[in-house]
């Protein structure tokens, strides 16, 4: 059961579609209420960042499995400007858009695993996973 579902993110309404997809998959995989909210919120943050900073990109969600654990994996990719200083954007309160700067450090806390890979001038990929307890 390793089906992947994706939402192209190019406008504000795609952010809503992405988080609805995430909530449905989280429910199907058996996540409880609180983890469903965590996953949905994380997707919303990543999708909004794509829309704001890269213009467009893609959110893919798939079932994950590792050493007998099952979970949900979010893969956010864009071909935007990339991130120069990854340490900086992971700090609480750091923002270049007048936001709260809560998004990326928040996603890291909301999820169990978090990986960010970014190349200036070519784009960003963020993979975040939540495991079922």
């Amino acid at each position: 059961m390793n089906i992947q579902s994706c939402v192209e993110v190019c406008n504000e309404w795609d952010i809503v579609s992405a988080r609805q997809l995430g909530r449905n998959m989280a429910k199907e995989l058996g996540f409880g209420n609180v983890d469903q909210a965590r996953i949905t919120t994380a997707i919303s943050e990543l999708a909004r960042n794509i829309y704001l900073y890269a213009g467009n990109g893609k959110i893919c969600i798939e079932a994950a499995e590792k050493m007998g654990k099952r979970g949900l994996k979010i893969i956010a990719t864009d071909n935007g400007p990339g991130i120069k200083d990854i340490r900086k954007v992971m700090e609480d309160g750091y923002t270049t858009s007048g936001g709260l700067g809560a998004g990326l450090p928040g996603v890291k806390r909301l999820m169990d695993e978090f990986m960010i890979d970014s190349v200036v001038g070519s784009g960003t990929e963020i993979i975040a996973t939540k495991w079922l307890r």
Partner: protein, 118 residues
């Protein structure tokens, strides 16, 4: 899409029952400020019982609207924040410390009454 704003005596009541996209949230911010201006309302309750997700953007819009309303002389109380939403807000590092909250609509109205009349 527009979120309806009800007037009840000198209070305004809003129950958010739609999935909040960015445009709807910003439109609501503007509509509420206009309504405060037009009605001279002194208190506002925004009920979030049906809201199952608040991300950093919506949190910012809500926090801003509380501060903007205060500038216009109206006190806002947020009510009905779900447990899962409270947990994710803390995970996000958003404490909403300066935002008045209450458990439900009834307690929200009580809180306003105490602050405005007491």
């Amino acid at each position: 899409m527009r979120i309806p704003i009800l007037k009840l005596h000198e209070y305004l009541l809003i129950t958010i029952q739609v999935e909040l996209d960015d445009q709807t949230a910003l439109q609501f911010q503007e509509d509420l400020l206009n309504k405060i201006h037009d009605t001279g309302a002194k208190g506002v309750v925004i009920d979030l019982t049906s809201v199952d997700m608040i991300d950093s953007f919506i949190a910012k819009v809500l926090g801003d609207v509380v501060r903007m309303s205060k500038l216009m002389g109206a006190q806002v109380v947020l009510t009905g924040i779900q447990p899962a939403v409270a947990i994710t807000l803390i995970d996000l590092g958003i404490s909403m410390r300066e935002v008045p909250t209450a458990l439900d609509l009834e307690q929200g109205l009580d809180k306003l009454r105490l602050e405005l009349e007491g």
